[in-house]
């Protein structure tokens, strides 16, 4: 029985608005903790303060986005009850379990994200690192539980219908033994990495294009783009799986996605075009492709919209355009991912064009995400529970939906403003100096001593610096170490006691361990560390000269990487030779994964 509700469409819009605001934040909830943990793990492995700075800054963004997600998620959970009370009343006993579990997952996430974000410098390094894991797990679990409810709405099972209400309920199997749910969830899971990765990468690509080409920006771009590029091409496969599940379990939705009016054997696929109520016009027709895609058989029968009466058909063009938008953007993102992977594995630089594409990919991935959700939600119309309960039967009878809609819009606008301000503020916090530069006092002290120019400075061969220069260098570096709390770094090393004992000096040379500065540079592999401490001396000049073509000033040369061919070389970070060299060399020396 339909509820007497004049503002049903507004109620749907309100729900859609809330979902569209919340879902991109969910992506950050799923993917961001993993990226932050990766950065912290790299820091723990390499001791490179750059990764520490990266993880700390990202954890702040993560916390801010989580807080916003709490607001939007709370609004959303209230809306489910306030806007669709009949749905809650009749079927809450089936899907309520999902939201219960999600509640616990959310609390877990909230607790540990607090510990993680405020625990920097205050917890032992390993404990802090471990405290991030529940955040990552809860991010995955929370979205899993919520999407299990959505999967159930798309493919309801696990109950019998008595007087329009669910009875004899099997909540576990209804939610989790639902074939529709798993493809939907995995699709969303990969989408989370794509959206989170490309949005982050877009910000750093923009920074690079604007001339901020420090190691920090390039490393952050590398991590976020790697995540997005690894996920984007694979999403094509997952999407194929999800689409076949739709074809099997929700034939009307598939027909709407493809604009297929009548049941057809060997159905054709139409790209673009417009559905005029009978067929797709002005589109590009590819014969038999739809049958092939949907059922892996070019002659398969694809059911059309005509299997249900017109009143049970979703708005075809909305669904179809959303679907094509998602697929189109998704394909482009997959291509961009492949291009990036190719360039990266071939050790090529990123042309400006690719950077611009990455900048565009961030917002586009959000568009694709929302378009995908429009496809699945509008494609289910007019049902709230597919083939069981209509949206018009589930809606509230309250008459003040426009008031709520207006209030909600204002709240979201305010929220958007707040997010913008917070992210801007976070972005403006200057990087800790050791994350971008070699520590200046150390360099200054070292430059003043002639001893450092000796040929014997090969970092790995004899580990170091001798005589007076060594002592001064140490003092300078210790001063540098005092500038920031050394606590964490110490703990880092403490976490690996095995290393501490068997890393004795080589070939009777003094242990580097006893020479190097405490704190700041602890745990930095030798090559990089000496690079840090190294002045701009004769040895450095010689190395640059000798190795220039292969590695050295790649960044400073610029050509073919970030600058267009034929342009004069532009130093990355101004004329500062140590910084420019550091950018190129430190990275090259960074140890790889397979220790």
């Amino acid at each position: 029985m339909d509820v007497n509700q004049h503002y049903l469409f507004q109620a749907r819009q309100m729900q859609a608005l809330s979902l569209a605001v919340h879902i991109p934040l969910v992506c950050f909830g799923i993917a961001f903790p993993v990226l932050v943990l990766f950065a912290e793990w790299r820091y723990l492995r390499t001791g490179d303060p750059l990764y520490l700075a990266l993880a700390r800054r990202w954890s702040r963004i993560m916390l801010a986005l989580f807080a916003v997600g709490v607001v939007t998620g709370t609004i959303l959970s209230f809306e489910l009850g306030l806007l669709w009370p009949v749905w809650m009343q009749d079927f809450g006993n089936v899907f309520g379990l999902g939201f219960t579990l999600e509640g616990f997952s959310f609390f877990l996430e909230a607790i540990f994200i607090g510990i993680y974000a405020y625990g920097w410098d205050r917890l032992p390094a390993r404990a802090h690192f471990l405290s991030g894991f529940p955040v990552a797990i809860a991010g995955v679990a929370g979205s899993l539980f919520v999407i299990s409810v959505n999967g159930w709405m798309n493919h309801p099972s696990g109950f019998t219908l008595v007087d329009g209400r669910a009875a004899d309920v099997h909540p576990w199997s209804a939610l989790f033994a639902n074939p529709m749910f798993w493809s939907e969830y995995v699709h969303m899971y990969f989408a989370a990495y794509i959206v989170c990765g490309f949005l982050l990468a877009g910000a750093y690509a923009w920074a690079l294009l604007r001339g901020r080409r420090g190691r920090y920006e390039r490393t952050a771009l590398g991590i976020s783009l790697a995540a997005a590029s690894a996920a984007a091409p694979l999403q094509v496969i997952v999407g194929d799986w999800a689409a076949r599940d739709v074809a099997t379990y929700q034939p009307v939705k598939l027909a709407a996605m493809e604009g297929l009016a009548t049941t057809t054997r060997g159905a054709a696929e139409h790209l673009l075009g417009w559905y005029n109520g009978h067929a797709v016009v002005w589109g590009v027709e590819i014969p038999r492709l739809l049958s092939l895609l949907a059922f892996h058989n070019p002659n398969a029968v694809v059911r059309g919209l005509n299997i249900v009466p017109l009143a049970d058909q979703p708005p075809v063009n909305v669904v179809r355009f959303s679907f094509q938008t998602m697929v189109g953007i998704g394909t482009l993102l997959a291509l961009l991912g492949l291009v990036y992977l190719y360039l990266r594995l071939r050790k090529r630089g990123l042309p400006r064009l690719v950077l611009w594409a990455v900048v565009a990919a961030g917002p586009l991935s959000v568009v694709a995400l929302i378009a995908g959700w429009i496809t699945t939600e509008v494609g289910r119309q007019p049902w709230i529970v597919y083939d069981v309960q209509r949206v018009s039967q589930a809606v509230t009878g309250a008459s003040d939906i426009p008031v709520g809609y207006g209030t909600l819009s204002v709240v979201y606008l305010a929220l958007a403003g707040i997010v913008f301000i917070i992210l801007r503020r976070l972005a403006r916090i200057p990087l800790p100096p050791e994350a971008v530069d070699p520590p200046e006092p150390a360099s200054a002290a070292a430059v003043s001593s002639g001893g450092l120019r000796s040929r014997r400075l090969h970092p790995r061969r004899d580990g170091g610096v001798h005589g007076a220069g060594r002592r001064r260098l140490r003092r300078g570096a210790v001063d540098a170490a005092h500038r920031r709390p050394a606590r964490r770094v110490r703990r880092t090393a403490g976490a690996r006691p095995g290393q501490a004992r068997d890393g004795a000096g080589l070939g009777g040379q003094p242990r580097l361990a006893d020479l190097r500065a405490r704190g700041l540079l602890d745990g930095v592999p030798g090559g990089i560390r000496l690079d840090h401490l190294h002045p701009r001396g004769a040895a450095a000049d010689r190395r640059d000269r000798d190795h220039l073509p292969r590695c050295g000033l790649r960044a400073a040369r610029g050509r073919g990487h970030l600058a267009r061919r034929g342009e004069p070389a532009r130093p990355l970070l101004g004329a500062h030779p140590v910084r420019a060299r550091h950018g190129g060399r430190g990275d090259r020396r960074r140890p790889g994964p397979g220790r």
Partner: protein
């Protein structure tokens, strides 16, 4: 202020039976904007202020802020008196509006609440805030439980709890879910409170003193002596790490070069297996394996690209 007020009015509206069963069946304004619900709303605000003052007073003592503690003590006393007065008024108003709190279990709980409230006032007066936190919480909790006791078994007018409850299987599933959830949540909360109450998550200033003293190593350990002879254990434990790093840098580089090949093979395996199982198989287990393959592929590709030296 709005949040507890709105919550209180909603509770009040339910308690006095102004929320009928049905889809938007009650009046949208008068059901919660009548004297009894508004009084409960005010009571909720007073309770919040009271609890906040008591707890913050205890925190102020912990931080050694005597002036702040005195201020919160005064506010706790005032809010406590106001809450008590409102609660007494609520008893009468509620009785008039149809919720009888003055018999049976409800009366006992109201008495508990009153006693706990008085105890809190006395403890606050004596500046014993640690204990006052418990009694304050008890006073408020007793009122809430008393409301439930007075209303039982009615949930809404014409609907009992039994009628509103879901089927057994759902309830069992929920109990299991809540049980499992609590098993995870309670230790997490305990950890959080432990960290907070021990000041581990306090402002960095309070810990700067602990973090700063890092002994310059060269002054205490001569070159050539092992890490074990370093007198300060903290730095001593770290002393070997750079040495180890130096030793293994070459190994790591080689490892990175070698590791790339197996990693690529792993990624390719994951891709082929994942794509094959997802695209061509239909069984759920095959799809599960396929997803695992794709995730494996994604992780290895990520590892290959994100950890490669050079940007």
């Amino acid at each position: 202020v709005l949040t507890p007020f709105a919550l209180g009015t909603a509770v009040g509206a339910i308690a006095v039976g102004r929320v009928p069963v049905g889809n938007a069946a009650g009046n949208q304004l008068t059901s919660w904007l009548s004297p009894a619900p508004v009084l409960v709303g005010a009571l909720a605000v007073a309770f919040s202020g009271y609890l906040a003052a008591v707890y913050l007073a205890a925190d102020s003592v912990r931080y050694g802020e005597a002036a702040l503690a005195a201020g919160f003590r005064r506010r706790a006393l005032v809010a406590g008196v106001v809450s008590g007065g409102l609660a007494l008024a609520g008893l009468l108003v509620m009785r008039g509006a149809g919720l009888n709190l003055t018999h049976g279990a409800a009366l006992a709980l109201v008495c508990v609440s009153g006693a706990a409230g008085l105890a809190t006032l006395a403890l606050c007066w004596a500046s014993r805030f640690g204990l006052a936190r418990l009694t304050a919480a008890l006073a408020v909790a007793a009122v809430v439980v008393g409301w439930a006791a007075a209303q039982a078994p009615r949930l809404l007018p014409g609907m009992t709890v039994t009628q509103a409850a879901a089927g057994t299987s759902t309830l069992v599933a929920l109990v299991i879910a809540v049980g499992c959830g609590l098993v995870v949540l309670v230790p997490s909360l305990a950890l959080l409170y432990a960290l907070f109450l021990r000041g581990r998550l306090d402002t960095p200033e309070s810990h700067a003193a602990g973090a700063a003293p890092v002994a310059p190593p060269g002054e205490t350990a001569r070159p050539g002596t092992g890490a074990a002879s370093t007198p300060i254990p903290g730095p001593g434990a770290t002393a070997g790490m750079p040495g180890g790093a130096v030793r293994s840098t070459g190994v790591r580089d080689a490892g990175a070069r070698l590791g790339a090949v197996p990693l690529s093979a792993l990624a390719l395996t994951g891709l082929v297996a994942g794509a094959g199982l997802l695209v061509f198989a239909d069984a759920p287990w095959a799809h599960a394996l396929g997803v695992a393959g794709l995730v494996l592929c994604a992780v290895t590709v990520f590892a290959l690209t994100a950890m490669r030296p050079g940007d």
